[in-house]
Every structure is written in structure tokens, then in C-alpha cells.
């Protein structure tokens, strides 16, 4: 038991603080080995050609072909984020204003479960209901509405619907705390001063919720921007998204300079991390305001 006693029982804070950092070494090493260094390698590789610093690969990444992929991805992310924010907030408000506690908790749990869904099984479920012989498609046909060929589940509009399946629940979970923060007295005060419900929402509630809605939008945007599995299962290479292009470059299906894939990756990384950083900044600020 000599080892036991050799461990300092109550170290003085000042003298041992740098030694204490040693305890974090395994974790920091992990971060270096599998996060920072691989990322820096990719950044360096995207910026060098035969040992020289160059922006050549970023110039190539600005080709109309890739700009279209970026454009599609941004459009898809913005649409699903916006619809997710609107519908998610609406449903969240319906949930918190329900009197039954069982219904409230049940629906929150459902949002909790479904926001973790995504990828292949989700994509497949949407083929089952909205594919060319899907159940909803048949249902619409029976009442005289022909979804196909104007609509296809294997397209950007199909993807938008599928993405909403995990975007909406995420927004519900994000916005519920802010909705609960709206005090009943504010509504009463507004009504006493002669405001209609509509005026209360547009002049009081929505301005208060605005930062939370924006931060929700940013996180949903990032969530959809980085998504790959759902899109790939649903549409294969039919839909031109930047993640699908990068994946094709990795698998070597398309023969191009590997450094070009690096440049495209770094560009998508910048867009996605800007959204996440914006989200974190806004939520931290909201926390400080509340405190």
C-alpha cells in the first residue's frame, strides 16, 4: 500500500497547478491526434502545391460546378432551417400551452427521440410513404392529386421534407425554455393596455424571442449543412450537395486533385463552424442576460 500513500493527499494549489495539467494530457493528446492535427494537415494541403503556398485550389473550388453544389446546400439548409424554426416554434408553443402534463411530457419525449433520427432508416421511411408508389402518393392519387412527376422524393424538395423530420424536433427542444421564459404577466399587461393577441405577439413576444429564434436557425442550418447520410440514401448522387461531392472525391469516384477536395472541405467547414459559433455566442449572451 506504499503507492497509495505516495499520492499527494492535499496538494498546494500554487505549486502543483502546472503538474495538475499532466492529468489532462491524455485527453489533449486525443484532441491533437484525431482533431487538430488532421485538420491542420488538410488546411496545409489545401494551401500548398509542390511545396509552395498557393490559393490555386481555392480558385478551382470557385468553379461554377462547385458553386452550384454550395448554392444547393445553402438553399436546402436555409429552407429546412427556416421551416424548422417556424413549425418547431408553433408546435413547441402548442405543447407548452397544453394543460395535461402527460401530453406535454409525452410530446417533449417524442421530440427528444425523433431529433436523434436521421440517416438511412429515415430516408427509407420517406421512400415508403412518398416514393412514386408510396402510400401518401397513392392516397393523393385517389383524391385526384398527382404528386409525380412534378414532385419527387429523390429531389431537393423531397429532401426538404425528410430533413424537417429531425429539424422540427430539434427546434422544439431548443425553443421550449425560451417560450417558458415568456411571463404570463407580460401578456396580461399588454392586454390591459389594449393590445390584441396579434399585437402582443408582434410587438412583445416575438422581439423577446428573436435572439432565440436566430440562434435556433443557425444551429438548424449547421445541422442540415453537414448532413450526408439521409441525402445519400435518398437520392444517391442525383442531388448535387457539397457533402455528396466531397464524399465522391474521397471515394475516388471522381478523379480530381486531392487538394481540391481539401479546399472544398475547408470551405464547408468554415460555413458550418461559423453557424455553430454564432449559435454558441447567442446562447451564451442570452444566459448572461438572464443571470
Amino acid at each position: 500500500m506504499a503507492i497509495v500513500n505516495s499520492i499527494p493527499v492535499r496538494p498546494k494549489k500554487s505549486s502543483s497547478s502546472w503538474l495538475a495539467w499532466l492529468g489532462l494530457v491524455p485527453f489533449i493528446l486525443f484532441g491533437l491526434a484525431f482533431e487538430l492535427v488532421p485538420l491542420l494537415t488538410t488546411i496545409r494541403s489545401s494551401l500548398t502545391s509542390k511545396g509552395n503556398l498557393t490559393l490555386e485550389f481555392y480558385r478551382q473550388a470557385m468553379d461554377p460546378l462547385f458553386l452550384r453544389s454550395f448554392g444547393n446546400t445553402i438553399k436546402l439548409s436555409a429552407t429546412t432551417a427556416l421551416l424548422g424554426v417556424v413549425f418547431g416554434t408553433l408546435v413547441a408553443y402548442a405543447i407548452i400551452s397544453t394543460k395535461s402534463k402527460v401530453v406535454r411530457n409525452g410530446l417533449t419525449a417524442l421530440a427528444d427521440v425523433t431529433t436523434n433520427f436521421g440517416g438511412a432508416p429515415l430516408a427509407f421511411a420517406f421512400i415508403v410513404i412518398l416514393g412514386s408508389t408510396g402510400i401518401i402518393t397513392i392516397l393523393f392519387k385517389q383524391i385526384g392529386i398527382h404528386l409525380y412527376p412534378a414532385f419527387r422524393i429523390y429531389s431537393i424538395s423531397g429532401l426538404t421534407i425528410a430533413y424537417l423530420y429531425f429539424q422540427m424536433p430539434l427546434m422544439i427542444l431548443l425553443i421550449i425554455p425560451s417560450l417558458l421564459g415568456l411571463k404570463r404577466e407580460w401578456h396580461e399587461a399588454a392586454v390591459n393596455l389594449g393590445a390584441s393577441d396579434f399585437q402582443y405577439w408582434t410587438r412583445v413576444a416575438l422581439p423577446i424571442l428573436f435572439p432565440a429564434l436566430v440562434s435556433g436557425f443557425l444551429l438548424l442550418f449547421a445541422n442540415s449543412f453537414g448532413a450526408y447520410a439521409t441525402a445519400w440514401t435518398l437520392t444517391g448522387s442525383d442531388v448535387d450537395l457539397i457533402t455528396i461531392r466531397i464524399a465522391a472525391l474521397i471515394r475516388g469516384e471522381v478523379q480530381l486533385a486531392p487538394e481540391l477536395a481539401d479546399a472544398l472541405s475547408i470551405l464547408s467547414l468554415l460555413i458550418m463552424s461559423a453557424c455553430v459559433i454564432g449559435y454558441m455566442w447567442l446562447t451564451n449572451r442570452a444566459k448572461k442576460v438572464r443571470a
Binding site: 484525431f34 494537415t41 427521440v113 447520410a229 467547414l269
Partner: protein
């Protein structure tokens, strides 16, 4: 008041339909003989289930997914728990660094993480490229926030300083304090973390596909293969995925309701 209730019921009903119809439809589809020209399945059968579960690859991919999930879970547990405890206790200044490493995967698309790992590890002479090891490492990065957050929250919720000092005064060493005092007290956080990691890795497709591909086939890889070949059998696999996801999620809700509740969700599909 009446119209407000009607509005709420309408919104909630539409939401429920949207969330539940795809799952139920997939379930019915997997048991129906034919369901592509009528409103209701034309008949019922177990054929698709029997066919898909009798492939040799079925059990193999299921096994591989469990191996990847549990390996990731175990490695993260060993890496995160002592680090989080040590940091809170002795190196509070290290918190921003630990949190930055933990939330890395939130800001990085899966395809970019895969590309960066391939770029770096194909250059250095370490034989982990194309090997399940690199997949586990990548899954660790991906699910690090889901292990770190619940564990850190659970630690903040208990008085770990007092517990540590009490144990020290009775002569317990660091290892004993961690395993016998701290860990039992943050069990609910650890369980939620493990379950979140499990459900992330079990359904992981992007990293698996790009890092190991067909060399280490997991369940989602098998499922996607079938969606291209045979939709009927794919539907049975999708149902299994849904069931696993639902069970883990319900367990997470149960575990978090035991401890301090904190919204934890998986983002970045």
C-alpha cells in the same frame, strides 16, 4: 378560448401524424405482401423478415455495429470521466480547452472529419487507415460531446469537492475516490452519456462508409445496400433501426429523469 383549443389540437395532431406515419408505414410495409397500388396492404407475410434475417451478413453487420458502439463507449468512458473529474477538481483553467475538444464535432461536417483523418493517417506509418481502429477513433470524436456533457453536468450537480476531501481524510487514494466515490454519484450522467454514444454510433453511416467502407460492414451500411437492391427487405432492417433507436432514446429519457435533466441531442446527421 374554443378556437385556441382547436388551433392547438390541430397543430399537435399534424405534428404527430408527420412524426409517426413514416415509422408506422415502414413497419406495415415490412409485413405486407404487396403495397404499391392500393391504399391498404394487399396481404400479410413474414417473408421479408425471414429472408433478410437469414443472410449471413445480417448477424455479422449487427455484431460489427455492436462492437463499434461498445468500443467507442468504453474508450470514451475511460477518457472522459477521469479527465472531467480531474479538470473540475484541479485544473479549472483547462475547461475551455476540454470543452473545445469536446464540441469539435458540432462544427465539422462528417465528410470533412473523414477526409481529414484519411489525409493525415495515410501519410504517417501507422497501420490504422482502413481499419476499424480509425472508425472507433472517428466515432469517439463524433460522440465526444454526448459523453462529456452529461458527465460534466452530473459532476457539477454533486459536491465533488466535499466528497473528495471526505474520502481523502479517510485515506482513500485517487483511484479509489474516482471509482468508489465519484463514479457512483454521477452514474445517471454516465449512463445517459453511454446510451447517447451508443445510439450515435449504432446509426452512424457517413464515417463508416468513408473510412472503412466494405472492410468492416456495419448495420447502417447493410441497410443502405438493401435500399438499392430490395426495398421489401430494407424495410425490415429500417424497422430494426427504428426499434433500437426508440429503445435507447426511451432509456436515455429514463436515465436523465433519474438524474438532473439536461437537454441532450444529437446533431449533425
Amino acid at each position: 378560448m374554443k378556437t385556441r383549443d382547436a388551433w392547438r389540437i390541430l397543430v399537435i395532431t399534424l405534428f404527430l401524424l408527420f412524426m409517426i406515419v413514416p415509422v408506422i408505414a415502414t413497419l406495415l410495409f415490412s409485413f405486407s405482401t404487396r403495397w404499391d397500388r392500393s391504399l391498404w396492404p394487399e396481404g400479410w407475410t413474414l417473408n421479408w423478415w425471414i429472408a433478410v434475417t437469414s443472410h449471413k451478413a445480417f448477424l455479422l453487420t449487427l455484431k460489427n455495429s455492436f462492437i463499434a458502439s461498445f468500443a467507442t463507449m468504453f474508450c470514451l468512458l475511460v477518457l472522459v470521466t477521469p479527465t472531467a473529474y480531474w479538470m473540475e477538481l484541479r485544473v479549472p483553467k483547462g475547461k475551455p480547452i476540454v470543452e473545445l475538444i469536446s464540441s469539435f464535432s458540432f462544427g465539422v461536417p462528417g465528410v470533412v472529419l473523414a477526409l481529414a483523418l484519411i489525409r493525415f493517417y495515410s501519410k504517417i506509418p501507422l497501420p490504422i487507415i482502413n481499419h476499424p481502429t480509425i472508425l472507433v477513433a472517428a466515432c469517439m470524436v463524433l460522440s465526444l460531446p454526448f459523453m462529456y456533457r452529461p458527465v460534466a453536468n452530473a459532476l457539477e450537480a454533486i459536491d465533488f469537492r466535499v466528497l473528495t476531501e471526505a474520502a481523502q481524510s479517510m485515506g482513500a487514494n485517487g483511484w479509489v475516490i474516482l471509482t468508489r466515490v465519484i463514479i457512483p454519484n454521477i452514474m445517471s450522467g454516465i449512463i445517459s452519456g453511454c446510451l447517447l454514444v451508443f445510439s450515435t454510433v449504432f446509426t452512424e453511416y457517413t464515417l463508416t462508409n468513408l473510412l472503412v467502407g466494405t472492410r468492416f460492414k456495419t448495420f447502417p451500411i447493410y441497410l443502405v445496400e438493401f435500399t438499392r437492391q430490395d426495398g421489401r427487405q430494407a424495410s425490415a432492417l429500417a424497422v430494426i433501426s427504428f426499434v433500437v433507436a426508440w429503445i435507447t432514446s426511451l432509456l436515455i429519457i429514463w436515465a436523465t429523469s433519474k438524474g438532473g435533466r439536461e437537454a441532450t441531442h444529437i446533431i449533425g446527421r
